[in-house]
């Protein structure tokens, strides 16, 4: 920056950072501490952050309480990846169409997609339930995958469109001069140069799909075998007496894979979100 920070400014900044992180990370820290407590120490008054006999035993005992934990994690990943693939297959061609061609109804279609952004899935849950029932999709992965993809398509189209608009048209024109067909051009010329943009859309779609699996699972799925992580643990949570240490151990174990994925990709996520969001 232009001028250096004075010492009290630095103190203020770091104090602010610490406060913000305390708020954003406290639940994780507390969940970890609870997962280390023996059950009788959890239900003890007065509250203490550190308690006696802390151990990792909940991470062992949770496997008998939540034996399907690996399945839930797999389901969550499977559903989120499928949502992402299905959504991308719809988003990429559609975004290309609205960014490169003028055709009858284009603005209306764009406006419709913009409007769909504001409709939450919970509002449409009644007909969606009837639709899933009629299509015989209740209690299948597809009942969670198809709506998940549909609700991420509009946002994805706008993100991807702004990326396509920044790619010079000369690239396609050169390909046409060389005699390439339009589908071939899209596949072989445009897609490779759009890979960073596609990555951003893929990652944000994946994270949203992973984070928002509760409603569709709660409404369309009654079979434990297909439950994503949130739903799998919700049953555990809803019991008469919650085994908090095991629930927290299972929650932390369950979110570890997605946190690791995030750590590996965080550079792309932050860079992608920031570049994609500026020019909307």
């Amino acid at each position: 920056m232009i001028d250096r920070y004075r010492w009290y400014e630095l103190v203020l900044i770091y104090a602010g950072i610490l406060l913000v992180l305390a708020f954003l990370l406290a639940p994780f820290l507390e969940a970890f501490m609870v997962s280390l407590r023996p059950l009788e120490m959890i239900f003890r008054i007065p509250y203490r952050f550190f308690t006696d006999d802390m151990s990792f035993s909940a991470y062992v005992s949770m496997w008998s309480s939540v034996p399907d934990l690996p399945l839930y994690i797999f389901n969550s990943f499977f559903i989120a990846v499928s949502v992402t693939v299905l959504a991308l297959a719809c988003i990429i061609p559609a975004a290309y169409a609205v960014s490169r061609f003028t055709f009858f109804g284009r603005d209306a279609i764009l406006a419709a997609f913009l409007g769909i952004n504001m409709i939450g899935a919970a509002v449409l849950i009644i007909p969606l339930y009837k639709l899933m029932l009629a299509a015989g999709l209740l209690n299948t992965y597809l009942a969670m995958i198809i709506p998940g993809a549909a609700f991420s398509v509009p946002t994805g189209i706008f993100l991807m469109r702004s990326y396509f608009l920044r790619i010079p048209r000369e690239l396609e024109e050169a390909a046409y001069v060389d005699g390439a067909g339009r589908l071939y051009t899209l596949w072989r010329v445009i897609l490779p140069v759009s890979l960073p943009g596609i990555m951003v859309v893929a990652i944000t779609t994946f994270i949203a799909a992973y984070a928002q699996q509760f409603l569709f699972a709660l409404t369309f799925n009654a079979v434990d075998e297909y439950n994503p992580l949130p739903m799998g643990l919700y049953q555990f949570f809803g019991r008469e007496r919650v085994l908090w240490n095991e629930l927290m151990a299972a929650s932390l174990t369950g979110i570890l894979p997605v946190l690791l994925v995030y750590l590996f990709l965080q550079r792309h996520i932050v860079a992608g979100l920031t570049s994609g969001a500026v020019k909307e």
């Binding site: 954003l24 239900f43 952050f49 490169r100 055709f103």
Partner: protein, 294 residues
Amino acid sequence: MTRRRDAFPYLLLLPALALTVAIVAWPLAETFRLSFTDASMKPVTTYVGLANYTKIFRSGFEDIIGRTLLWASLSVALKILLGLLVAVLLNAAVPGRALFRILVMPPWIVPIAIGVFMWSWMYNGQFGMISGVLQRVGLISEPFEFMAYGTSAFIATIVTDVWIGVPLVSLYFLAAMQGISKELYEAAWVDGAGRFYRFRRVTLPLLLPSIATMALLSAIWTFNSFDIIWILTEGGPRGATTTMIIDTYKTAISRFRYGEGAARAVLILLFLSAFTSVYVYLLLRLTRKGGTHD
């Protein structure tokens, strides 16, 4: 490169349109239709005109609307204010900034429901951290059960909603801040403007369109927020956290009153459209006045 009556762009749009029509457009139309019927678990349904709508307003629905508006506006205001603060902190050129940017994101990354389980423990009256810490510092003398009282449950659900929403809002504002040209700051600096003055006179005005955009998006998401309230309170205690979405879900799915639920859903959509229209109008005025970067 477009020929007249060219089918190619339509072909490209086909998958997206097919999915959207099946999962959003048709259910939307069906919701409108159902809202005029007495649809439920019975095999036969009849049209009942506006009966569902009049019934809603005779059952004290104004309270739910008011509560929803209060819930959403408090939550959005907090998300925007806190998001701005976090963005400013994330933007400060201090050592450790890269790590800070990584550490703010987890509430957004993890499944919402899992984050809510954690908060549910934090709010636990007898053994939870918040009540415990408040007792430790002497602010309260007895354990406090947050979910047992309307006001505290209401606030608790907002806090959790803000916690989940802040990371994305901050990152969006950070992006907008980085889009502001450095020369403007340098010019202001040469003129002797201090850091706070520069924020107020350069950053904030140029950020206004982004703030407006985020406020609207955030309002829409918050209005549609389901998981947090459902898991924390299921709308209780005694309806204190029943927002329009929760009420709709309860009516339609838990009580199988599809028609009445659909009428509630239609009212939500009307609210959201009103929001969006006001926003588009304001945004057009803002951009026409100039001072925006796009």
